[in-house]
Symmetry: C3
Subunit: 417 residues, 3 copies
């Protein structure tokens, strides 16, 4: 009898790992670290679910575009001459050039930088030089990606048949309408890479158990009381939230808790601490001009998350929209856009430093804890611990959603093989 | 029935991918990106074909050496006391030290930097300290690599039995003779890494469909008319080329189109645009002194390529020799040497900036399009498109040569297994 | 019959490679380069053997800690309120955060930076906020790692049942006692990464065949005569060593050769060249105050190595302790600590530049040869050459120890599978 040391190389499939996970506990190591789990996450989630691309005001005019890399897929999202926003695979139909390399820009047409094949903003190939007699340009349109604009929040989906989005669409358009996102502009944008698996980035966002220790500037205005954000139902909450909701109801401002049955998304409007106005160091509004039809400076934050790719705060004076994209098994890109009313003038109506300070700090603080979380989980001695039932209910929602979806899809894949 | 999304992980072998490719179209994704295709390219092509090492004038005297990394193999090429150029595995026979780390240098002997085992320039082990009584130095010569100097163009081959090179040797020595490469010197050398598969680097070189859009400085003197470079046969070409060839014939300057039956190599001398003299911004010669026995300043460019590793321009006043080496599936090293007559004096006969500007620009412009080409091809949505029959005939030659060679060698390997 | 080129991808297992190695010769390529060999080295050696963590004086007071990364395992070593040094997996029992990211520091308690779970210095979970009624903190102590302090030299072991250490412990405590390591302090610390497999780093240390060519400053005081360091037995050595031992015996200073039967470790005290005092450029002591109870300035160096992780020199005026840790198949971290008497004052009793110059140089020189060794061994043309029987006896000890241990453990693993 010889003692066999725990092997470091995983033999379990992603489906096995998910089946073996312990409810109410963090996931097993290889789901946060492994190449196989990463490929499975891409195939089953990132390539199949609706993903937040950006606010529509990031594409203010005809030919405005943004690009994003979803796993192996480069995607371009652009506004056509008809005002409609469309998404395409950012890949030339000739020899595969990436059409646009910048994160943002404006182009009257999509002209390939290699041999200048020229596509219309609706994806049609308009022009290809010297391709010979038999060449039929109509067969070489850009490949489309599903795209929908929900009152200023643009989502894409790489699947051939995307999942239903009507329930989310209805609620989000209703809740976000007063914030006037389509009439906003991007005041500032930041993109960082966090050296952690995308699920660790999202777990971090789904609880405020860490806020007191990590976020001194955010905690001036944002309560880390879990009762503020983890609600039992649309009508059950703390007295100050109930009061806030009553006030919102009276003003016709949607505010009560709505969510998907599987918790893939949720939204609700909650007050800031002590009736403060905005995520600033002073607690006062950062922007003199309110967004959309927001009635008060102290209307709090409309919080909206959608798994796997976004969380957001719509405040009366500005909105902060976040998009995450996986880069590798242990790297995640986080893009933050600060939106203000499109007529607000920098230096007059708002000061950029005041507007951005709290969440620039907060993002960097979250990056640090996520990276150390990844570093520890890499240990074969890591053993998934229990989530706090009160403080980490939102993380449990995330992990249950993830395991439920992955478990059923991987089972379908096996059945189909 | 459930919709199964396209899997991102390749299940096809290199042989399968090549068998499935569509003639006249770019290659399937995994041949440009995958680790397996890269290993197969190394095994079947880079470790078996003749590869350009450098111009012999890069090794001007006894003990001059250059090093190159061919896949996993470090190689050293050095000139012996007898004037002959030899190549060896750049690996000490003691504990495997790389003997020379620099790209270029001069050594009277090859002395291992670790324990000073000392080899003659012909590879023999001359001295090894304290190796004990039974040690027979004659068994520890450096391992040779095939090496041939074709009138100033040095080629190596890692195979035990290299492919025939006599036809190429005869033609290249004849065509290159007037350029006097062996009596040249290296005026400038540049090495860059392009983040693209070696085939994308070579495809890029084999067409000028992209020149108008990418190469403003090159296009001052180099015509992007495909009729200039894609010739139907040794005697069929545009009127200005036919006139140029007649003039060359009269002067005894080999100029007409010759090539390998499988298009692995080709050479021809073509005029620059508007009878200009050299690849400079002004179109005038960059070097006051002509190379070898070149009769005129406006003799045009002797263009010579050899798959997989080189393309070249031999102009009357200077020569530009290019060597590519694969670094990883998606990285390729490109080394460019600018050669001038060995007695030309910098600052007197030529100005380095004038000499190098056009191709330094051109290399960097090509790097950019190659890198964006790789970025787009990485998309699983990439679908190989058609090559332009007129503009990209040279790319079709490359891809047909590649698929033909790989297909037959992989079939041989399978048969032998 | 077709010629099949040597394949670059290894098909042999680590056990096969070890079985096929040629005694007295360097190891086959893939044992120095391959991912599989690296994982096997971790599993069979680094995760099972005692490893040097650091000198106990690196943890001078309650709450002092050092961290180290052993393959995938982050480990923290800390001194408790009871003065005892303990090691733990540096991983929070909640969601796996790495508890301490710095290489060194001091903490009254171990507080997780994520959600502030708080552990006592003995590993017990003292405090975890809001974990609900059923939560039993006693089940969430930090996971311990074996740890032993051998008179100032701290070793850890990740195995559940560590190998016997009593023989080493007895000898080391006896030999090191006069050097007073526990009453020393760290005067300087350096950590470098060498781009070479850990075995190449250790091979390099186990011979002085390379010293003459690589180490001009070390060779002023350290003899590269193999008779100085490769001893035949405790009583057989060169006349000057025998004389030195006799002098040490008379003073009660343990000095004669002791070693493990399998050569996993060895220690002996040898004189410096020409009775010099220390590894300085002048050969004079670098520190005015001698360590522990060292009787003379010219007592030479007590050399101690232990495979796989450490070599050391204990001199009368200072000690230099080295720790290596594998980082990847071809990267190794080397940490060097210079120790002096704890009451020695920088600027008064010693000058840091004088103290550290020789081994800072020597480490960097060794890094260079190790990196070129790795670069050459990567060649498929590399063929393991013979070790010098006289000059490289120490390397043969290392390689025989390695192959013996790996061979038997991999056979056990196969038997157990
Ligand atoms: S790759 Fe886009 S035009 Fe050629
Ligand atoms: S490795 Fe070259 S002499 Fe030792
Ligand atoms: S991970 Fe350590 S307290 Fe949460
Ligand atoms: Fe946070
Ligand atoms: Fe080009
Ligand atoms: Fe050394």
């Amino acid at each position: 009898m010889t003692q066999i040391h725990q092997m470091t190389s995983a033999a379990l499939s992603t489906a096995d790992l998910i089946a073996a996970r312990r409810p109410g506990h963090a996931l097993p190591r290889d789901l946060y670290c492994g190449e196989q789990a990463y490929r499975d996450d891409l195939d089953q989630i990132w390539y199949r679910e609706w993903l937040f691309a950006g606010p529509s005001c990031e594409l203010p005019k005809t030919g405005s575009y943004l690009t994003m890399q979803v796993g192996d897929y480069p995607v371009i999202v652009t506004r056509g001459a008809d005002g409609r926003i469309r998404a395409f695979h950012n890949v030339c139909r000739h020899r595969g050039q990436r059409l646009c390399a910048s994160a943002n820009g404006t182009n009257p047409k999509l002209v390939c930088p290699y041999h200048q094949w020229t596509y219309d903003l609706d994806g049609k190939l308009l022009f290809a030089r010297d391709m010979g007699a038999g060449f039929d340009p109509s067969k070489y349109s850009l490949k489309p990606v599903h795209c929908i604009d929900l009152k200023g929040m643009v989502f894409i989906c790489l699947a051939q048949i995307p999942p239903a989005i009507n329930e989310l669409a209805g609620q989000l358009m209703r809740y976000a309408a007063p914030s006037g996102l389509a009439d906003a502009k991007v005041a500032f944008s930041s993109t960082i890479i966090e050296k952690g698996n995308w699920k660790l980035v999202m777990e971090n966002n789904r609880e405020c158990y860490h806020c007191g220790g990590s976020h001194p500037s955010l905690c001036r205005t944002y309560s880390d009381d879990p009762l503020m954000t983890v609600m039992e139902g649309p009508n059950a909450a703390s007295p100050e939230i109930l009061a806030h909701w009553a006030r919102c109801d009276a003003a016709g401002l949607p505010s009560r808790f709505v969510n998907a049955p599987d918790m893939q998304w949720r939204m609700a409007r909650v007050p800031l601490m002590d009736d403060q106005e905005s995520f600033t160091l002073s607690g006062k509004a950062a922007v003199a001009r309110r967004m959309g039809e927001m009635p008060w400076n102290d209307a709090g934050s409309l919080m909206f998350y959608h798994f796997p790719s976004t969380w957001n705060h719509f405040l009366p004076d500005h909105a902060i929209v976040f998009r995450i994209l996986p880069v590798s098994p242990m790297e995640t890109q986080v893009t933050t856009n600060w939106l203000v009313h499109k007529d607000a003038v920098e230096g007059v109506d708002y000061d950029l430093e005041t507007l951005t300070r709290v969440w620039l700090n907060t993002n960097d603080e979250d990056r640090q804890v996520v990276e150390e979380n990844q570093a520890g989980i890499l240990s074969p001695a890591y053993e998934p611990g229990p989530y706090s039932p009160s403080q980490e209910a939102g993380v449990i929602h995330l992990i249950d959603w993830y395991c439920g979806l992955m478990g059923s899809r991987l089972a379908q894949r096996m059945a189909a093989e």
